[in-house]
Amino acid sequence: MAFSTTVSQRKHIKRKAPRGFLKRVFKRQKPHLRLETSGDLLVHLNCLLFVHRLAEETRMNAFENKCGVIKKEHVQAAAKVKVRLKSLKSVCNSKEEQRLEVKEHIFENYMMYYFRW
């Protein structure tokens, strides 16, 4: 088992990573590049974290608006923040700065949420 590249013991994994889908997406985007075997798992991890953060942000937006249902606008606002932060992160070298920014934003949201309720 140690040397197998596939899951041997129990084939049933919860929350399987769509490895084929990820590979296909990458290939379609960058056909001249190759993705290593374990790379798509890390991509899946990245996606999970991204989705997690996006969902948290969206949830906070929904709470701010005192909505019980997540709407398109909440998602859009969250995505804008995320994209902005991501782009900033990729551009800005100082990670602490970025983190502070994110934290401020999150804190601000929390405060709004807290005071609204």
């Binding site: 140690a2 040397f3 590249t5 899951v7 994994i13 919860k14 929350r15 990573a17 769509p18 889908f21 990820l22 296909r24 997406v25 990458f26 379609r28 985007q29 960058k30 001249h32 590049l33 190759r34 993705l35 290593e36 374990s38 790379g39 798992l41 890390l42 991509v43 899946h44 991890l45 990245n46 996606c47 999970l48 974290l49 991204f50 989705v51 997690h52 996006l54 969902a55 948290e56 969206t58 949830r59 929904a62 019980g68 249902v69 997540i70 709407k71 398109k72 909440h74 998602v75 859009q76 995505a79 995320k82 994209v83 991501k86 992160k89 990729s90 990670k95 970025q98 983190r99 994110v102």
Partner: protein
């Protein structure tokens, strides 16, 4: 740990076995000085106060212990003398009692925890008096342990404390086992309540989050089954399609939003889109079967339909549309060389199937947000459940195929245009569109293509053309255009189509994760927005990875690039390493593949 738990619980809930044990341990130390004092000083008041104080005061260990001691001490007033024995016996006896009375723990425990203080206090005070007064009196109370326990549980924690104290007293005095079970029941109930308190928080969460509730797709299966059955039946009830429409509508209304314009939905656009949308939302798997059945039926029905010759003016009249389709089908059958003669049982079925086909085609159009089409109405009139199901299937297929909706719009436009043109063409369109949709969809996905019948393949050329040009064409109009320009568009459609279906399927995986993490109900539009965000995210991701790999002078993206990416995103930093994230979020199997681990034989996997 036990103490901490006990402390917290003493402050907030009934004492648990652990608290009891702790108390036992504590009482050994503090019994003499405190108990006497507390006992003398109005145990009742203390009892009354302690519960509230416990709740209000911060559960410091000392406070909790004191409170617990006081509570217990009241019960132990009589047993001050027998301190020595208590220490030795109670833990064991407590445990024994717990084991004995484990089943006696009642489900009502959590309620008791929540009960207000006053009632328990009153009860407790009364009980304490009684307990203090005479243990014997309590015996009868204790004897029916379950009932009493339940009753005690309901009032609140105090009572349980009382019971425990009573139990301890009983233990000290060597009361019969009846009390023990009682005390154990309280203790066990406490423990069970504790356990319940642990468990209950989870349940409300799930209950309070209806958004997480999964939409039961059961209806789709039923529709298909019913549809197939209907197809087999020879009854041709063209009227009252509403029933079948309604049922799918209920299930599918939301889904339709996701799918864009479907080809060949033009003719039916005018109809109630909701109904059709629901139809379109049918599962793709069903669509496959339905397609085949439909296609088969349409094929067979073609010649028969001709006999009917119910054709009326195109498109306008509700019934006509339906008939148009019938006629078109017949025409199509003649044209298409494939022979499909599946031998469907009844002409009516074939006719119905055709209608369904038309409807199905039209449904996609409706779903594609093309309003004002008449097709829907006529379909409603003449379509029976079978037809609806068929339409649903085709719609779903079309939906699958037209993720972007361009294709659908094209088809719809074409269908519209063709509608006015000729009936035969129109008839062909719905057939072709539905078939083509299915076919094209199938083609896109290899597995699907293999399953298509000749009919479907024949339809493809017809369908491809309409699909290609992005215009809002009516179903009827489609046949005209696709016929001449079938070949060129054919090459185009396979490209984008395979990209959409599996792409969307993969994205839906993450969309479901999003809805899970959100823990709130979400709208369909929000889910679509999430899909778009994910699309953009993937593009950004690939670009970044390319940059990183190029920076390292490589053409292969390696895990180091991924780590660098996550570092830039702020997910990985000096405090949190990549391995930590892998351990947290990925299943064990993937962790084994990612994190190097040493194995026997001086080997490390995966190799570094």
């Amino acid at each position: 740990m036990a103490e901490a738990m006990a402390d917290s619980y003493n402050g907030d809930s009934e004492p648990t076995t652990r608290t009891l044990l702790r108390r036992v341990l504590d009482t050994a130390d503090t019994r003499t000085p405190r108990r006497r004092r507390s006992a003398r000083v109005g145990a009742q008041k203390a009892l009354l106060e302690t519960p509230s104080s416990r709740r209000l005061s911060s559960p410091t260990k000392m406070n909790v212990r004191r409170h617990s001691h006081r509570v217990r001490s009241i019960g132990r007033l009589a047993h001050v003398h027998t301190s020595g024995n208590v220490e030795e016996q109670t833990p064991r006896t407590l445990l024994k009692n717990i084991l004995l009375t484990a089943p006696e723990s009642s489900i009502m425990r959590p309620e008791s925890v929540v009960k207000p203080v006053p009632t328990p206090q009153v009860v407790q005070s009364s009980r304490r008096d009684s307990s203090r007064g005479s243990l014997e009196l309590q015996l009868p109370e204790l004897e029916p342990p379950t009932t009493l326990a339940l009753g005690l549980l309901a009032p609140g924690r105090r009572k349980q404390r009382l019971r425990l104290s009573v139990f301890q007293q009983g233990m000290d005095q060597g009361l019969p086992l009846s009390q023990e079970p009682r005390g154990n029941a309280s203790a066990s109930s406490l423990t069970s309540s504790l356990n319940l308190t642990f468990a209950t928080p989870l349940q409300p969460q799930s209950v309070q989050r209806p958004g997480l509730a999964r939409r039961p797709p059961t209806r789709r299966a039923v529709d298909v089954g019913a549809f197939l059955q209907d197809l087999r039946d020879t009854s041709l009830a063209l009227a009252s399609p509403g029933d079948s429409l309604r049922t799918p509508v209920a299930t599918l209304p939301a889904d339709t939003v996701l799918e864009d314009t479907q080809p060949f939905s033009q003719p039916l656009v005018g109809r109630s889109p909701s109904g059709y949308h629901s139809l379109t939302c049918l599962s793709h798997t069903e669509v496959e079967d339905a397609e085949r059945a439909v296609s088969l039926r349409t094929q067979s029905s073609g010649p028969r339909l001709q006999n009917h010759s119910l054709y009326v003016c195109p498109a306008e009249s509700p019934g006509c549309w339906f008939l148009l389709h019938v006629r078109a089908e017949s025409v199509l059958d003649q044209d298409t060389p494939n022979k499909y003669h599946p031998g469907k049982p009844a002409e009516l079925l074939a006719g119905k199937a055709k209608k369904v086909d038309a409807h199905a085609v039209s449904f996609p159009n409706n779903s594609s947000a093309i309003s004002g089409e008449d097709g829907v109405e006529p379909l409603q009139d003449g379509v029976d459940e079978e037809a609806e199901e068929r339409m649903e299937e085709s719609l779903s297929v079309s939906e699958v195929m037209d993720t972007t909706g361009t294709q659908g719009s094209v088809r719809t436009e074409k269908s519209k245009r063709h509608r006015e043109m000729s009936e035969a063409v129109e008839a062909k369109e719905p057939e072709g569109s539905s078939g083509d949709e299915d076919i094209s969809g199938r083609r896109a996905s290899p597995e699907l293509a293999s399953s298509t019948t000749e009919f479907l393949q024949a339809r493809q050329p017809q369908f491809l053309e309409p699909a290609l040009p992005p215009s809002t064409a009516v179903l009827s109009s489609e046949p005209l255009e696709p016929l001449p320009t079938r070949l060129p568009p054919r090459a185009r459609t396979p490209g984008p189509r395979p990209r959409q279906d599996p792409h969307k399927t993969g994205l839906s995986h993450y969309v479901k994760l999003f809805s899970f993490y959100a823990k709130m109900p979400m709208e369909k539009k929000a889910l679509e927005m999430v899909e778009k965000c994910l699309d953009k995210y993937f593009q950004h991701l690939c670009d970044d990875l390319e940059v990183f790999a190029a920076h390292a002078g490589r053409k292969t993206v390696k895990p180091e690039d991924l780590e660098l990416l996550m570092r830039r995103q702020g997910l990985v930093n000096d405090q949190v390493s990549l391995h930590v994230l892998v351990e947290r979020y990925l299943p064990l199997e993937y962790r084994q593949l990612l994190i190097p681990c040493a194995f026997s034989g001086n080997s490390v996997f995966p190799a570094q």
